[in-house]
């Protein structure tokens, strides 16, 4: 799990162009949106693509993203349970 969390942080930094950030800078329990990393709606859509591309998880209902993208830890947990690749 820890490995997945670390990998996910790297992927998030890459696809969302979080320049100047390292995986160590991201608290896996902190909120991704709003206060935490300050991500926005386009970032959320890009995370949906990341899940499909890298883990084979197709999120049909984008509003479900709200729960899944709560934090890196929650996201990793969801990926662990639902991944197809």
């Amino acid at each position: 799990m820890e490995e997945l969390i670390y990998k996910l942080k790297q992927e998030i930094i890459e696809v969302l162009n979080l320049e100047d950030m390292t995986p160590e800078d991201i608290d896996e329990n902190a909120s991704l949106f709003g206060e935490g990393l300050g991500l926005d709606s386009i970032d959320a859509l890009e995370l949906i693509v990341l899940m499909e591309k890298n883990y084979g998880i197709k999120l049909e209902d984008p509003s479900k993203g709200k729960e899944i993208f709560k934090s890196v830890a929650v996201m990793a947990d969801y990926i662990q349970k639902n991944r197809t690749k």
Binding site: E19, I42, D43, L45
Partner: protein, 202 residues
Amino acid sequence: MMRHYVTIQPDLAMLDGKFLESKEIGSALLVELYRNHIGDYPKFFKMDALCRVGFVASELLLQAENNVRFEPCDDRAVIFFNQSGSLNADTHYQATIQDPGNFFPSPAAFVYTLPNIVTGEIAIRNKYYGETSFIVLEQADSAVMARQLLNAFLDSATQSIIGGWINCDDDEHFDARLFIIERNEYADVETLAKDIETIKIQ
């Protein structure tokens, strides 16, 4: 001549006719200018090249202007021209859908496939609620640009314009020549066209 004008090309940056110190080239130059002169706007790294060059150029202009910044403003328009539209962003987005076996359309790439996004980025940064507009031309034509810019003052709300040419062929090749003009600063199209030409030659 306009009071404030800026040129950014892959190998140089000039503000009000003076070279800005830099050692990088192309996309690295834009990051260098961002770090040396701006530095507090992480959204910069999400932008495509057209927005990056427009953002950096507008920041340099506004720093030179030295007015109060980031206060809501409803009398300044942002009006740009270019030849390539959003071609660079279009090419990046096309790459995400070209291969049917690796078909993952990227929303973060798609959002930049409109040239006017750069005018929106500048409006957001500066709380500009005025007119924003983007016009694509077959080729740079100072007289056409001057005519369109002076026409924009027909909207009585518009007191000043950040305007000019901003082209981006790919991530490493761009050309921005932007300036600020005020209402009543130019009486006719010919004089403004001449000053736009002057920025081009420098």
